[in-house]
Amino acid sequence: MDVKFDRFASAAFLAVGVLFMIGSRKLASSSYGSSVGPDIFPFVLGLVLSLLSIRLFYEAFRGEGQESRQEKLQYKPFIIILLSTLIYILTLETIGYVITTFLFLFVCFQTMERNKWVTSLIISAGFSGIIYFLFVNVLKGTLPGWPIWFS
């Protein structure tokens, strides 16, 4: 158990709980035909969350002696894949599904393990092409296919 994470998380959860309580105060306290309004449920939940996060902070404070185990984490490939996923998502609608998916898969394959780039090329091209064809032509779904300046 990472004590630092728990402390940070308890503060974050406390903030969320309090914000929900404040937010629900602004809602109407009754609705038509009922004295029970849309504000009660979120208010109570916000209160419960705040109380629980205080309890979590207390638990994390008490368990200070436990040190977290250190593992070797592969940050580099993770960051690359995370960033390429973000770029993929943001460019999907303008550049279109086929090209972005192909590039995304190829980059990720090679990030995971840098070998057999021909196989990677074939699989990424095959996946993006087949999915697009099946979804748009067979299932008649909507997917931005090609760059918007093409069509």
Binding site: V16, V48, I89, I123
Partner: protein, 508 residues
Amino acid sequence: MGTFDYLMHGFETALTWYNILFAFVGVLIGTAVGVLPGIGPMSGVALLIPVTASITGGLPPEQAATSAIILLAGVYYGAMYGGSTTSILLNTPGESSSVVTTLDGYQMAKKGRAGSALSISAIGSFVGGIVTLIAMIALAQPLSTIAIKFGPAEYFSLMLLGLAAVSGLAGKSVTKALIMTVCGLLIGTIGIDNVSGIARFTFDIPWLYQGVEFLTIAVGLFALGEVFKTILEKDEDDGEIAKINNLIPSKEEFKESAGPIARGSILGFFVGILPGAGATLASFFSYLMEKRISKKPGRFGTGAIAGVAGPETANNAASGGAMIPLLTLGIPGSGTTAILMGALMMYNVQPGPLLFEDHPQVAWGLIASMFIGNLMLLILNLPLVKVFAKIIETPKKYLIPIIIAISIFGVYAVQVSTYDLLLLLGCGVLGYFLSKNDYPIAPLVLGLVLGPMIENNMRRALTISDGDYSLFFTRPLSLTFLIVTALWLLIPVLLKKRGKDVVINIEG
């Protein structure tokens, strides 16, 4: 119409060509999901919801719901079959409900008896699946008749019980599990309020008006979270796969495993019905029970076939048993059933006592298809187990990016919004860090699915009583549920204080 007629109608539905195909694809993918370490049944089902939604898009709504749930349920119980394969051959469980199978299964494989271990676990899974199905058919009607008499107050208390049961057993810390549950409930309040029509916590962003989509959260937290975990915690040392030679178990092995299979079916079924318990606990209990009543308990851990047959039967029986509260009461008892419920609600099919009346095609079609699916799994797993064992060798290099691509495609195909994709990615990162620090994710998804229903029932009950909260404590059934809820949360805490080890559910 009696139960039998309904069941026959169910078979009619399940035996149409496309539903057979859906069941087949479901169990096939399920087995693969079970075999592959890294994708559990939860992320498998979550990942496939959008895919099935786009495939069934052309069918009329009720049929689409039936076909989709047949496929998704197939993934769920198919994973229970597949999970044993890696436990036995590689000593790495494909999913958490097969952890105990490694104890004796891998030892058997080392002694060259992998074939018998695999076939006994397939047969056990089949028997467990069929026994729970029969029990389910017997219980479905009576349970729905009782549940239909529940008022909003009873429903509110029962749902609280369901949430408490799952939070009380999930993960190492009850506090963390409860925090996740409340977060799920809070996320569920975002959007336009059903009763008053007021927008809550939307900050005038149109994208939030329809609420935060359950699908995006589930796929992000489970599927992407697990993917990120695999990338970050890469371990290269894959063990050697044991060879499978003789698939047919000897007469002696059959005799030895008959008892454990019978006991495992019944035990698994009852553990499965209990909310919060699920397949992992069922397999643990079964192993402990077999060890206790065995005449030679010393043989357990060295390759006793009873230690494979019992748990493997129990986990499959439990996965069937967990469907009962979902279908009859509308209350999912585990993360995976919560996702199945979310899938049904996407098709406007509300699980619960009215399901059998309003949508007999969906309910009985699903039950009948589970018979067919279990039969398919038995056939698939006996002769083709060698083919499935090959799936383990799928290089992570290709698997991981393709899972990301499928989740992005799936969410975009259903939601058609970049905001949902960003939320998906955010949930993936969050899911990794939360589960790494022992914050269980299943309660959050459960809260998200149940939240709006809990609130509606609470407000309906309070409207009837004119704002009087004592209603929940004066109605006997509602009071009972609330007392059980309180006990469920308090007893583990008290036991822990007294220094006892509490069995926890690691299913997620």
